[in-house]
Symmetry: C2
């Protein structure tokens, strides 16, 4: 049946979903009330249409500026720099952090042709030069590329007087992914952060 095959093909495009899983999901969805497929279809289109980048920190948002940047209770003097918007949720769940964020949009990767201009590093430096920033916490992943990116950003910010640049502690397993780390580990890694020199 062609509409079944089409749904299976589209589902199999998703990362981590092979052909058999896609088939299983297709048969599942066809057996469920039509309402469920409609809700998922709406959520797909709505999310893709409404979501954009925060003008300030590049977090995902439906507004000009994200809810974290707008929150007056957040400490605007600290910026936690992460690779992806999805890392913010992981740090928020730790309950240890009350500052702002900055989403780089990835990490430096010369082999993939991703250099400093492909990330929001210039925008971060602009934020630092504008505001009253006392600390930049570099929370890129503890991978080769994440470390290299942290080092690069630290070098760019090194000359700024009055700004501490710290690196999140290696409580997160090396090679691990910040996005999938539990809140307790992230809380420990945050509180053990150290000065970068």
């Amino acid at each position: 049946v062609s509409s079944i095959e089409e749904l299976t093909t589209e589902l199999a495009r998703l990362p981590g979903i092979g052909k058999k899983t896609a088939q299983r999901l297709t048969y599942y969805l066809i057996r469920q009330p039509a309402e469920q497929s409609r809700r998922l279809a709406n959520a797909l289109v709505t999310a893709r249409e409404r979501v954009r980048r925060c003008n300030n920190c590049y977090n995902l948002t439906e507004d000009e500026v994200c809810s974290i940047c707008r929150d007056p209770r957040r400490d605007g003097s600290i910026i936690c720099v992460v690779e992806e918007a999805s890392d913010i949720g992981a740090i928020e769940r730790s309950g240890e952090y009350r500052g702002l964020f900055h989403v780089l949009g990835g990490h430096l990767s010369p082999l993939d042709g991703i250099g400093p201009d492909d990330l929001t590093i210039a925008q971060l430096i602009h934020r630092v030069s504008q505001g009253e920033i006392s600390e930049i916490i570099l929370a890129t992943n503890p991978s080769m590329e994440g470390e290299a990116t942290a080092l690069y950003v630290q070098r760019q910010l090194a000359e700024r007087a009055g700004v501490r640049v710290t690196r999140i502690a290696r409580g997160i397993p090396v090679g691990g992914d910040l996005e999938y780390t539990d809140g307790v580990t992230i809380a420990q890694a945050l509180s053990a952060r150290r000065e970068m020199r």
Copy 2:
């Protein structure tokens, strides 16, 4: 962001997709071209709207009668009885079978309140009484419930003169699932099928 949370929630409703996988898929989809989300959304709604049950064998189809039942090259004297429409694809991939199918729509499960009237057993008996059927191959899963269902159907058909009732061989691991079995194993299980008594 509420539209992001909504998409994550809808994705997490799918079987085998936990909250973290749903989150990963959401962030992936938001980074992809809007076209990809739109195509998946369309495929979802279209499949759910168009797909119905074959009037003859209860396979999934977009027509009154499915393509297998309509195919004049198929041997209409043999019916292979399966639990779910998704099992048909597995048997077709084995390349060993040229007869027709009958989809029961599940298996007997008294604890879940699923009795003979919740399956298409009466419709199968009607097909046998109408047509020139020489053999019924019972290809329900080799699980407790699948065996009980096969036994029940066999009892119902036992009195019909001229109809062999066979059971697919246990080449499929006990407790396994027909839908995920490779074609070679299914071919062996089909050719080693034995009379049910």
